[in-house]
Symmetry: C2
Subunit: 89 residues, 2 copies
């Protein structure tokens, strides 16, 4: 059964574009370094495999939160509205 994921990456600049591209194929972009969306178990596996093949285990970290549904989470932001393209080319 699909769960709702919030994924936050902290990776070296050299690998940001690749990590961003991988996450974007599975999830919706939310803010710099943050993606969200529903994933099935097999998609989580695939995503983990792809990220692990790109990240440097000693320098990079990708944090996953999962929730039973997006209905349990509320969100808001302070400051400027998210703008996807100013941070990653």
């Amino acid at each position: 059964m699909a769960r709702y994921y919030i994924v936050v990456y902290d990776v070296n600049e050299e690998r940001v574009a690749r990590v961003h591209r991988i996450l974007r194929a599975y999830l919706q972009w939310r803010q710099r370094s943050v993606f969200e969306g529903y994933l099935e178990g097999n998609e989580v596996k695939e995503l983990k495999r792809k990220l692990n093949s790109v990240i440097n285990e000693e320098e990079d970290s990708v944090l996953f939160y999962s929730l039973p549904s997006d209905r349990v989470v509320r969100s808001f932001h302070l400051g400027r509205p998210p703008d996807e393209f100013d941070n990653v080319i």
Copy 2:
């Protein structure tokens, strides 16, 4: 009633240390740019006021997620374990 918060900031380097310090007074550090913990309604108000007094509304953004409890969320990470002090002095 307290809710469980996950807060992710994306702020200009000049303001990272100040934003980090404010968040740290209310929440537990989790990964670079990510804090979590329980907040009461009045604490959320206070935290928002303090952050708004530091961030630049045109350049910075702080994203808040809130959950009824930490019991609805699971988490794991890929790559290196979080290490608080290598990113902010």
